[in-house]
Symmetry: none
Subunit: 410 residues, 2 copies
């Protein structure tokens, strides 16, 4: 049987010493016997996903972990969000994150979430495949008030400003080109026409007739942000030779995986929320173990807790997931899989935000040079045999371990 | 209160094992309880200020420590020396280090320091604001025979050769363009005209009438070296958001600080000599603690000792400064400041010169991931949690620790 790769990413894994945890980090303070077993039989180190002391968002950090330099491939969050809800993008498409919102009769935004509307699926369908000049608009509903918009056509650009004012009591903004190119001017013009058409279509849509009857805030306008052009991603399979799948809850992570050509395994109870069900993700791994040779498994909760300042929640979440990892440890012990565990970035529970602090990484399995680290943690990783490594080099390291890295020279 | 940053640079801090010190380096052999206390509560590592095994001068090393890549910003020592004695430079200015020297009637240099003249202030004034073609000459006296010259005008270049022959018994050299551009040709021509005019002006200057009467060597000519064009430095404050000041003795360090827009705190007894008074520098820090949020404190003596081959003097100097650092340790213990201690480069006491050996660095204060290093030293730093870091990334690391580093991605 060929080597399986189990690639586990804990979002926002790293942290800083917390006085109330005896100056340990949440990961250091957590009882994580399974992660520690992997650390002990593996090689450890610290990863800077982009470059030393660059503070990354989750999107660019994941691209980098998969070996896609975001400085080349990343052009904004839009394409990953759109792909995350299942849209298929083509190079050159311009994708946006959108809100369906409520504007009053003067065009002032009075509710950014349209009264926490359940679903905008019917509204999205009403504007899907709309033609504006030579451009086709694709729209798909996300969760609640969220919608993704993709513009497909020739000579489009993502160098345009948001129509989303990002706060209440403002009108929808006009999108403006950020440079003098005809592509940027054309795209801003299409976006502004789209805003107007959506106003007209949503105003008379049965959804809103119904909401008016029930005295609910109307879902009567569209706010767009995060324009990004879809770049030409070489498929993960071509780049590394792995037949890969993604086991994740959050849309962004599924979006990145889909764009790289991974299969998405939908997991019951995987919500991207802290109390997501880690057991069902590991169950999916077991069930699909013969179908793929690369498993990207994403756990979101540590980041969510840290962004709320909840260091204790972060510690407990790590313990909660760790409990479910014994099947992974067994695969490694039996030489059935190589396992990588890391994070996409650190999140400081004290600052409640991402930091550029390096993230622990471990690689355990056949042919790895074991070091003297016995526990997964920020400080123990400082002594690890991998040293300080660049996120973009991790996949190449994996390919090397399993003997797939091409030869340079002769 | 916002975070204060205390950024201490020991010039030429690192060294090599000295047989007579039981194969310890001067820093390892020194009793430095305050530096060791910071190492213990901080994170440690080794810094290569430019790039692994590049042997740096103090000027480029400091630029790099402040995050200004010298390959982009450094064009010669002249601008920093001129700024160090208080001259205000503009982008495009060409600055030189100069000697006022003695030539005989045949134009042969017979004393490079003009008989160790006390001051060339009056001579500098006599050529300040001189016009040559469309170029204005600015001149300012340094210490003793030293003078800084700045050429201001359009289309000037620093790609010209020195007029300083760098040894006795030669005439003043003609400056030559190093390339075929009209800028280089023009600048060399201006410099050669300046040499002639200075000869005429100094010959009849009252200073020299007086020296002839007193049978002293005349201060009758000007030797120029180290041409550098002033580049366009983004201010330190804009780059990092810190309101910074410089507490240093040596002109070069004040010059770099002034060019980056730091305030210069003049310190009594800070001479740039080994027996400079470290107590008064720390006193300045304490007095100005509420006025700034970034303090660059420079200590020169370790480098000076090592360049003289005096490893014992270097060890004792480090002990002598360490004794005064307890207020710094207190600021860190009380979470009032983040403290960085490092050097700009290593200086080998045996080779009596700068080396490319990495320099220990420590960062101590709130939110730092403490490692297991208990002493500041070259070998203990090898085990530090920072690993081996690039000088240009140090300030970004600091910005990250205090939560000022911008987010890349989303």
């Amino acid at each position: 049987m060929s080597h399986r790769i189990i690639f586990i990413v804990f979002d926002g894994l790293g942290d800083r010493p917390i006085p109330a945890l005896n100056n340990l980090t949440p990961l250091e303070a957590a009882q994580t016997p399974n992660l520690d077993a992997l650390a002990k039989i593996g090689i450890n180190g610290l990863i800077h996903t982009i470059e030393r002391s660059i503070r990354p968002g989750s999107d660019v950090a994941h691209l980098s972990l998969f070996g896609y330099d975001p400085r080349k491939y990343y052009r904004g969050r839009g394409p990953f969000e759109a792909a995350g809800i299942g849209m298929i993008l083509k190079p050159g498409d311009i994708a946006f994150r959108g809100n369906v919102s409520t504007q009053n009769e003067k065009g002032i935004i009075i509710d950014r979430r349209a009264g926490r509307i359940d679903s905008v699926e019917n509204l999205a369908k009403s504007i899907n495949n709309l033609k504006i000049d030579d451009v086709t608009v694709h729209a798909k509903a996300g969760v609640g008030h969220r919608i993704a918009i993709v513009l497909r056509g020739l000579n489009l650009s993502d160098e345009i400003t948001d129509t989303d004012p990002h706060h209440l009591n403002s009108t929808i903004l006009n999108s403006r080109p950020k440079n003098d190119t005809k592509q940027a001017k054309k795209t801003a013009d299409i976006v502004n026409q789209l805003t107007q058409k959506v106003n007209q279509i949503f105003a008379i849509h049965p959804v809103n007739e119904n909401r008016r009857r029930n005295k609910l805030p109307e879902a009567n306008c569209l706010l767009l942000r995060g324009a990004g052009i879809m770049t030409d991603f070489p498929p993960f399979k071509e780049k590394y030779g792995f037949n890969a799948c993604c086991i994740a809850g959050g849309g962004l992570y599924k979006g990145i995986a889909r764009i790289l050509g991974m299969d998405i395994i939908e997991v019951k109870g995987a919500t991207g929320k802290p109390k997501t069900n880690p057991k069902s993700k590991i169950q999916s791994l077991i069930e699909n173990f013969d179908n793929y040779d690369f498993f990207f498994i994403h756990f979101k909760g540590a980041d969510t807790c840290a962004e709320d300042g909840d260091y204790l929640g972060k510690k407990e979440y790590l313990e909660y997931v760790d409990k479910e990892l014994s099947p992974v440890v067994k695969y490694v012990y039996k030489n059935q899989a190589l396992c990588i565990v890391t994070g996409d970035h650190s999140t400081s529970s004290r600052l409640k935000s991402h930091t550029a602090d390096e993230v622990p990484v471990l690689v355990a399995g056949l042919d790895v040079r074991v070091d003297d680290v016995f526990k997964m943690g920020e400080r123990s990783a400082q002594r690890g045999g991998l040293g300080h490594i660049d996120g973009r080099h991790l996949m190449r390291y994996i390919d090397n371990i399993v003997g797939k890295e091409p030869l340079y020279g002769n």
